[in-house]
Symmetry: C2
Subunit: 538 residues, 2 copies
């Protein structure tokens, strides 16, 4: 018996050894994060890296609204002092969101563009200050050089992580959901995005586009590329040149530097995305933060159970939206009062007058645990990627009230895949919301479709978080992943698109035709002359 | 103690359950294989499927040189009776190889093209006969319909597997190393192959091409596409129309049918390939047949051990080449006599006169076990994909003597990655081979490079065979993988390349310019007339 136990344990040991990743030793990772939901997502990766014994250092700044810098959070923190405050960032963001949610839909294009430019300029300005402060701190850079990190993980929505990696001579990994018009992926990552079936993010198209949609898609891609290039050149190039002492041999320094990334961890997957081409160093890890539901707090569980067979509706517009206008809040509350389900609404604004007893307001809800609860029938969401992936993970059909940024586009993906109804937040009336909710809960197609997406999500060779960590550790143990980087990075744009070859072939063809025509006409004239001479003689 | 054993076994059980793939039950797989090395490769997948409890039925024909049909090999066999024999196939192949190896390098282009066309026509003719015999057998089709297979696995180098899948209404999976010029992947699979950095297979270029190479690459891609389309239309379309009762709504029926594949299992990986774009339903499973070395037979092990510190060289030109010309065999044998290593040469031809005692001839060698032996210093190979992957797996530098088909291109990959020296089989002299061998064994760069490729091969999230089986089982349990198929399949070629959009935008631009010029000239004339009138009046 003892022997058989011994051998059983032996097998167990062998199994464990066999499962341990290839030659991983504890490493050192430097992280350049972005705030808010981006931070929540990258935090999951950081936590997993710590669990696996790695040492993680997060670079943040004194005004960070998201990164915990005081308590000991398991990772090391380096705080760059900046001359703006957390309040400045929050205020700017709130202003931005209010404008986008309420005023933008009624504004004309020029005013919208100017307003967006103004806000963007402010974000870039903050980014700039942070970047300068960082590279001015020679002592810190020297300390990091001595610490010998293995890899840098950066979210390129905040510029300079990639530059830091270059400055410290580290391989680096990008964490990205998308860039507007996919310009960063296309121009810097060399990702092919055939405009005939890869819709530009934010256009709200699916991969099945009509003629006019394809026209608009191409023009959109083109204009975004121009815009991205302009911003890179005007806003960033001189800073990059300064920091790298003009060592970068390229016209587009931002793009050139981003293009050196070893791995791109894209925060989506084919449950969410329309199928499209990608490259060997693009890895899709959408939903890496999702996990099985934990039991709910007692009070919430009691409320959920009180819903009986009707079940519950989970409602959140994300961590960024704190207030709605009184009118919007009342419209929503009165709609929620007309359904038999119990509703859990994450909302910190003033209690709407029309609120009915079936709806409870919460400052915070355990969203993932609620979405994984068997009584949950639907999810009202703003369409942020994190929440949307939790709905996919647990298979909950959605009603989308997208507000800004990628949210309308995200919800459109779910709508075209038949897993959600989408409403116009500003124009919807109470009956629209009520009808949408009734629809997604009673028309079984929505449930079937979201369950199909859920099945796609769960049925992968490797879980998203494991895959993200695998490739980070891969870069650590192999000091990069250059064998996955396409040669396109070393071509100019006209070489990449074969324009030089086309020009050459056209020239040859033209030359051949020219010689042919000239020869023919010469022969023709010769013959003609002879005939004329003959006739004359006759 | 019993308790702890119990719990240990419990954990073991849990581990086993946790590792079991998601919801897989025993399924039924129909296989449409190709002969020779293709069969060896697909056989590994079949064996693994059988181990996992699936039932496999292989469709073959009465003249098969590779598939065992008599003994019980673990899989079911359906033999289609054809009017040609195994001898016919072997003879044709030998003729083909002899021509390619010895005569082709000295032949002019027109004769070569005609000869290759003649041989190809013969293979297509055999394929045709097999296909017709299959679809004429209504009883067999009816039997298969009743048997309700879950998936069909086909090697498209032999046409009709994809048609059989359509006829039986089955999801299907393609196993492919490449098609010439990648036309099948590009035209039927919608794989983007940017000609600026994806070299056409058989050109012998790397991903880093000069201007003239890019010109040739584009012309090659284009000509291969034209050829592939012609062959499809002339040779196959009417048969496809006939079999499917004209149900296929497309001009290019072969391509249209192949394009319906759920998954493409590509028999390579980034250890071998230059990085390039791919699609969500393309999975790279190169080297799936490789496994750790087993102990050698006693006699061979003794010979290997007798090599002392010098080690051994493994030499095989593959299973297809049985004879060399006397002159070539003598050249090779005399070169082998000049190195201190012991050589194991798989060769069934006449014993060369110049053979020395350090070289032994074998009718068959345990190639994988030899390549995995610690005493192995180098591998002389024709550059077939299977052997090449075994060398990558075990990290053995190579001397390539490529003969035909994809072999020169394969070896070129290894050469550009610094893991092999390549020789011209027909022109090399004894000293060339001797020098090449000395070089790969003594210049440590070759060993370092092949070890780097080996590291890339082994350091994947999932082993190639497991990945192949995962996606086959995926298609079985999900009845397809349509969510991985790009929308490009539903676009015409001019839509795909946005030519309609380009024409539209150019027309608009032209129209605007026309109106602008006309307006300007009208205004100009008006002004001019007025001035003239004025002047006249004056």
């Amino acid at each position: 018996k003892s022997l058989s136990m011994h051998s059983a344990l032996g097998v167990l040991f062998l199994l464990t050894v066999a499962q341990a990743p290839l030659g991983v030793t504890a490493g050192k990772i430097l992280v350049w994060p972005v705030e808010f939901s981006h931070w929540l997502n990258i935090k999951v990766i950081i936590d997993e890296l710590i669990v696996r014994g790695h040492s993680v250092t997060v670079v943040t700044h004194s005004a960070t609204p998201s990164v915990k810098t005081t308590e000991s959070p398991g990772y090391n923190v380096e705080v760059i002092q900046v001359p703006y405050t957390k309040q400045d960032i929050n205020d700017a963001l709130e202003k931005f969101m209010k404008y986008w949610t309420y005023d933008l839909p009624n504004d004309n294009m020029i005013r919208t563009s100017l307003k967006i430019k103004e806000i963007m300029d402010m974000f870039v300005e903050q980014n700039h200050i942070l970047c300068r402060k960082l590279f001015a701190n020679e002592g810190l850079l020297e300390k990091w050089r001595k610490e010998q990190f293995d890899v840098l993980l950066t979210d390129p929505m905040s510029t300079c992580g990639e530059l830091l990696a270059q400055k410290l001579n580290l391989p680096f990994i990008i964490s990205l959901r998308f860039s507007f018009g996919s310009s960063m992926e296309r121009l810097c990552g060399q990702l092919p995005t055939p405009p005939s079936y890869v819709p530009g993010v934010s256009l709200g198209y699916s991969d099945h586009m009509g003629f006019l949609q394809r026209v608009k898609n191409i023009l959109f891609q083109f204009s975004q590329d121009v815009l991205f290039t302009l911003v890179s050149v005007v806003k960033w190039d001189y800073l990059f040149t300064e920091v790298m002492d003009a060592l970068i041999q390229s016209d587009l320094q931002l793009c050139f530097t981003i293009g050196k990334a070893d791995i791109w961890l894209i925060r989506s997957y084919w449950d969410f995305e329309y199928p499209r081409p990608f490259l060997p160093n693009f890895k899709f890890v959408g939903g890496l933060h999702c996990k099985p539901a934990k039991p709910l707090p007692k009070e919430i569980e009691a409320f959920v159970q009180s819903s009986g067979d009707d079940g519950i509706v989970v409602f959140s517009l994300g961590s960024m939206v704190k207030n709605l206008t009184k009118e919007r809040a009342n419209t929503i509350a009165s709609a929620l009062g007309q359904i038999p389900q119990k509703v859990l609404w994450r909302y910190t604004g003033e209690k709407p007058d029309t609120l009915t007893p079936n709806t409870r307001l919460y400052e915070w809800i355990p969203q993932n645990d609620l979405l994984g609860h068997p009584k949950t029938k639907a999810f009202i969401t703003h369409g942020g990627t994190n929440g949307l992936y939790e709905a996919i993970y647990h298979g909950v059909p959605m009603v989308g009230l997208p507000l800004f940024a990628d949210q309308p586009d995200n919800m459109n993906h779910m709508r075209t895949k038949g897993a959600a109804v989408m409403l116009d937040f500003n124009k919807m009336e109470a009956k629209d919301l009520k009808e949408a909710l009734t629809d997604v809960m009673h028309n079984s197609l929505y449930k079937e479709n979201i369950m199909r997406l859920s099945q796609i999500h769960h049925d992968q060779p490797m879980k998203p978080l494991d895959q993200a960590v695998f490739w980070i550790e891969y870069v650590m143990r192999n000091k990069g992943a250059k064998h996955l980087r396409v040669e396109a990075h070393n071509l100019t744009w006209y070489q990449y698109h074969c324009l030089d070859v086309a020009a050459f072939l056209l020239s040859i063809t033209a030359l051949v035709m020219f010689i042919f025509v000239k020869t023919c006409s010469w022969i023709f004239r010769k013959c003609l002359r002879r005939t004329t001479t003959k006739k004359k003689r006759e």
